[in-house]
Symmetry: C2
Subunit: 459 residues, 2 copies
Amino acid sequence: MESFTQEQMDTLTAFTAPDRFSAGQSNRELHTHDISPHSGKLPAGIIWPVSTEEVAKILVWTYENNIPVTPWGAGTSTEGNPLPMRGGLVMDMTRMDKILEIRPGDLQADVQPGVLRKELNRQTGQYGLFFPVDPGADATVGGMIANNASGVQTVRYGGTKEYVMQMTVVLPDGKVIRTGCKARKSSSGYDLTRLFVGSEGTLGVVTEATLRLTGIPEYHLATTITFETLEAASEAVAILIGSGLEPAALELLSVGLIRLMNAEKGLGLPENPSLFCEFHGVSEAALMETADLAKELCTDCGATGFRFGITDNDRAELWRARHEAWETIHRAHPGKETLIVDAAIPISRYPEMVIFSQNLVEEKGVPGYVFGHAGDGNLHVVLAGDPDTPGEWATLEEINHRIVEQAIALDGTCTGEHGIGIGKRKFMALEHGESYELMRKIKDVIDPRGLMNPDKIFM
Amino acid sequence: MESFTQEQMDTLTAFTAPDRFSAGQSNRELHTHDISPHSGKLPAGIIWPVSTEEVAKILVWTYENNIPVTPWGAGTSTEGNPLPMRGGLVMDMTRMDKILEIRPGDLQADVQPGVLRKELNRQTGQYGLFFPVDPGADATVGGMIANNASGVQTVRYGGTKEYVMQMTVVLPDGKVIRTGCKARKSSSGYDLTRLFVGSEGTLGVVTEATLRLTGIPEYHLATTITFETLEAASEAVAILIGSGLEPAALELLSVGLIRLMNAEKGLGLPENPSLFCEFHGVSEAALMETADLAKELCTDCGATGFRFGITDNDRAELWRARHEAWETIHRAHPGKETLIVDAAIPISRYPEMVIFSQNLVEEKGVPGYVFGHAGDGNLHVVLAGDPDTPGEWATLEEINHRIVEQAIALDGTCTGEHGIGIGKRKFMALEHGESYELMRKIKDVIDPRGLMNPDKIFM
């Protein structure tokens, strides 16, 4: 659906306000790209609702008029998750950005979906609390819910799914439901909250969420650990996790990536396969005990350098550099696009997965950087190439394909945290078998007209 | 459906083995009662499958023949959750009790659903690992999954939902699916695993599950804390949790219950409203630090007694007594049945909920004991009465009803951990509103003939 009639535009404007509906070309174009190489189809218009009631009114109307609707957050997704594939209406949630209430006694916050993660943490930080899911990008909470986002601290704190307690959701036909409750636990019927978390806007629009918060750790200790080989580094990961040490972050970086980071940011890191590791705890003494044990385990795995006592400044710089890894790689390959592999496997299989991926990249001779949220078995490989040079891009796709196949063969998943969006749909049948059909049935019963974020998750 | 024909019995026997199907009266009667006052309808027969393949064969046949099927675990449920309400076939899962593999490096175990919780922990304990969900009863893992069971350690470790990674499920028509994966995290489509966890056998039969395990804590410290009033004790709960101290258990006990426990077990506990509290940690020093802080916070709330340095023996005895609270109450009221209230609310509302419940019990003048997994906002009230004396039982029902209504008004839930089963169905519309209809739609699409554990969750 490519354009609205004047009458339709008047209706949409009446649902909201003159400055909250646009059929202008630049706004429409802005909503056809996230940070992935995918692109959407030009939507007919963009609407910026500010309340559940407005969202409900809009969806009643789009349902009646058979108009596709694609919810939009910060646009920081990496698999084309919020791109309108059939035109229609893009529902930009960024003006529903209120923190409705922080309830420190309950360790909870009620928020609208357009709240940015960093702003949320600024506000909750006043109470010594934080929302610990950190995907790097300053995503909206709604986008994080849609994608079940996770990141560097998920190894200790869990992903978005573990932090959503209650949601207000507007269903594709405009009906408003509330899922879950605000009690810490419940056994009351089907867990609709966790059905909607990770559904990428294909089942409805989240307009309010109650998030669980947790205490900001009093002490943290960052370490960098270097190894002679990537194999040794990844084996240390499996051993550290298996030992139950519970790091708050455990990142693997291959030497190629470290070199780029040093070159761009002058970090002066040893140019060896490395782990960035952080521990959180109740006292410095407890942290030092943990770090000593980690050092011992890593030394047994052949670690050659172990640096702790990193200052707060250096620590912040280190994590900033890690968070910007993708941008750094991008900048190092001007004119190229990147394809991000995002597989996850059980931790004992992490070393073989890392080596498999590294060897594959070397064998294919393309620019490729192996790293990842190693502690929770999440492996990223960023590959750089030109989408307009078919052979070149096909090689990248082949590498992605083979890594995903290997991850699934090892009881893992085709996406640890980026979601299915457009790019991973081709792996769904392989990963889920008959379960994929069951997902489709659930989609069809909730969205019988197939209007919500169409052509995502499903082919 | 009250009985099978000889041909049907021959078929069911052929699916399994002569000693694994029974239409004998005593076996059928054994499967009409769990530990609740509810009773089921006499099933036509019981079958004990030993493999996914057998379960699939049986369900293909029951589906074709329109025969209701009710899965059965250890029978330790408290809301009639596994009672056959339309006769038919009871599928007793207790012979699928193998631990298939413990993978300590992955912190995971693959199990069949009939494995008992305590046996699982005996086996995983050899690797320093445990499955930390502790509902007290020695339930089967399958029953715990069906109910999303939780218990005394959920305040720190979470409930069953947080520990199930992958499942093999046989759908009502006999189709076998696998949900989830064995990676620590995934964003790959709809979370079917968490849709099935807590669905009480109404969507299919779980025949295999991969469970996450966690390290057995090296140090633990148990404390009992006494207060002059129940109000002060419950306020201390809210303060302890809000402070982020992360107890591994935090139980509230009213004086009436403490008296019964002392009388039956000679525990010699001070007969005051009390908290049983436990901390887990990496060193004794860290634990003492935490306990000191807890003492300070409790003293500010008016605690009058604080006992730590409890020996391992006393600790075990204390928790055993707490786990047996329901049996103790039962034995103290011979000839009576018990009705167990199981509400949960956000922690800041815990004090008012406790006082509301205590006052209601006193006002109605029935035997009633207020206690609960206070740390996660879970409140139990055990009420004793005679189901055959209509006025007496109606008073118990009224108390339950009013406490649940209050919990829902406080953004809580009608069941923190016992599930809906038969007894809580009447609260579902009140708690979930339009979401209840969505649950029904999902039930209908997965079980269109309504054969799986009929008349549970839904009216």
